[in-house]
């Protein structure tokens, strides 16, 4: 990833951080909207759509603050960046598979957001702290929804149990990237703007493992493979297809407004 990519997208460190968090929310939101017309029943359809809408709300704030000094607004950042310029963690872009995969990913991600936003309320960056104070209440509902389903499926039939444990095995390695420490995070943690990821991961593991054990899904896998790259713009091929779809109308009619 060349420095120019990052510079062009979000100049200041706090803005690069907002970009990462915003891309996480935006990309996962898109994956959740893919369930529209395909959800198991109406209540799940409405729930997943509402969670996606909340995540878009988060992304709008975060992308707006990410683009402040470069003068790029939320639409410009959403619709006119290539996958190499996106900074979401890989777990957000992985393609959907079955409902178990979706609720396990949502459990991992919403618990991450819950521990992150809980801590971010005390950020030295006032706008970020005020935003976190609002978002933490909303992700609490996401987490409760996901946890409820993971327990039902894990502790359900043999079929739902097997699918849920397969989803845990596939997704668990991707969670490490959410708590990875790099130069940007070190600087922001030192300044009190971002919370310390090591503390977040401890809280996260405690809460996620409580749900997994209640779901009878045993202890989380521990093998060493830790996929990363998203924070530097190195993504799986899935993101390119996702952006091609998400950006298609804007690229077909540039500058169009409602």
């Amino acid at each position: 990833m060349t420095e120019s990519h990052a510079a062009r997208v979000a100049a200041k460190p706090a803005e690069q951080y907002a970009l990462r968090l915003g891309d996480d929310a935006l990309v996962l939101s898109h994956r959740l909207t893919e369930w529209l017309t395909r959800a198991p029943d109406l209540e799940e359809e409405v729930a997943l759509a509402n969670i996606a809408l909340d995540l878009v709300g988060q992304a709008r704030f975060l992308l707006t603050s990410a683009g402040q000094s470069s003068g790029r607004d939320e639409d410009d950042l959403t619709y006119r960046r290539t996958d190499r310029e996106y900074r979401n963690a890989l777990i957000a872009e992985l393609p959907n598979s079955d409902f178990a995969h979706t609720v396990v990913r949502l459990l991992f991600f919403s618990t991450y957001q819950w521990v992150l936003y809980t801590a971010l309320q005390h950020s030295a960056e006032p706008d970020l702290a005020a935003f976190a104070g609002k978002a933490v209440h909303e992700v609490a509902f996401h987490r409760q929804y996901a946890a409820g389903w993971v327990v039902r499926l894990g502790d359900g039939t043999e079929e739902s149990h097997d699918r849920t444990s397969a989803a845990v095995a596939e997704l668990w390695p991707y969670t490490a990237e959410l708590f990875a420490v790099d130069e940007l995070i070190e600087g922001l943690t030192a300044e009190g703007i971002a919370p310390d990821p090591v503390i977040l991961q401890a809280r996260w593991s405690e809460q996620v493992e409580a749900v997994l054990s209640e779901a009878g899904l045993g202890v989380a896998p521990t093998e060493a493979w830790r996929p990363t790259g998203g924070r530097a713009g190195l993504h799986t091929e899935a993101l390119g297809y996702l952006l091609a779809e998400m950006q298609s109308v804007h690229r077909a009619f540039p500058g169009a407004t409602w």
Binding site: E43, V46, A47, A49, N50, I51, L53, D54, L55, V56, G57, Q58, R60, F61, W114, D127, A130, F131, G133, K134, A135, H137, E138, A140, F141, R143, Q144, Y145, A147, G148, V151, R152, Q207, A210, V211, E214
Partner: protein, 177 residues
């Protein structure tokens, strides 16, 4: 908390009713029986010149699509009564919670079959709760035993519940977490 505008300046401009009342009486686009005043989203209305007013609102939910419509409705409502320069801005401080809904707002909700939010739940967010029966009374028969069907409803601020006695499903405003 509510920073009243400078009445003297307004007298000269003879613009009635006052800007605060105008903003407060704008209806919510998705629940038109509720006004912004009822909902508790109006934070501050300050007139910084005889024909110039600045409005600060706090959004209910981050992703709520009504927030943009509300900003536009507030702006046009103020222009209609003679304010030429109108600035509407959203802020997160103070953050909106359902506790900001006024008693009048709660009465209107119940009258429309939407259960108002119960008092703030003191405990932290409950992690795994498949069915939550909290003190939300049924807007039809008033029974207190109601069951959560889904934490997500027609709008970001609503959930779906069912009454334990008359059995009717009904929307309710989500309690603050």
């Amino acid at each position: 908390m509510m920073n009243m505008h400078n009445p003297a300046a307004l007298e000269e401009a003879a613009i009635e009713p006052t800007a605060v009342d105008v903003v407060r009486s704008v209806p919510d686009p998705e629940m038109p029986y509720l006004t912004l005043g009822d909902l508790g989203v109006v934070v501050e209305v300050t007139a910084d010149a005889p024909d110039s007013v600045h409005v600060r609102l706090t959004p209910t939910y981050l992703g709520c699509p009504a927030t943009e419509v509300i900003a536009r409705d507030v702006e046009s409502a103020l222009r209609d009564v003679g304010w030429r320069h109108v600035a509407v801005e959203y802020c997160f401080d103070p953050p909106w919670t359902p506790d900001r809904i006024t008693p009048e707002g709660r009465r209107k909700l119940a009258a429309e079959g939407v259960a108002p939010p119960p008092a703030r739940t003191t405990g932290g967010p409950v992690l795994v709760q498949l069915t939550t029966a909290t003190r939300v009374t049924c807007p039809r028969c008033g029974a207190e035993e109601t069951l959560l069907l889904s934490a997500f409803g027609a709008t970001p601020c609503q959930e779906l519940r069912r009454c334990g006695s008359c059995g009717e499903p009904f929307p309710a405003i989500k309690a603050a977490r």
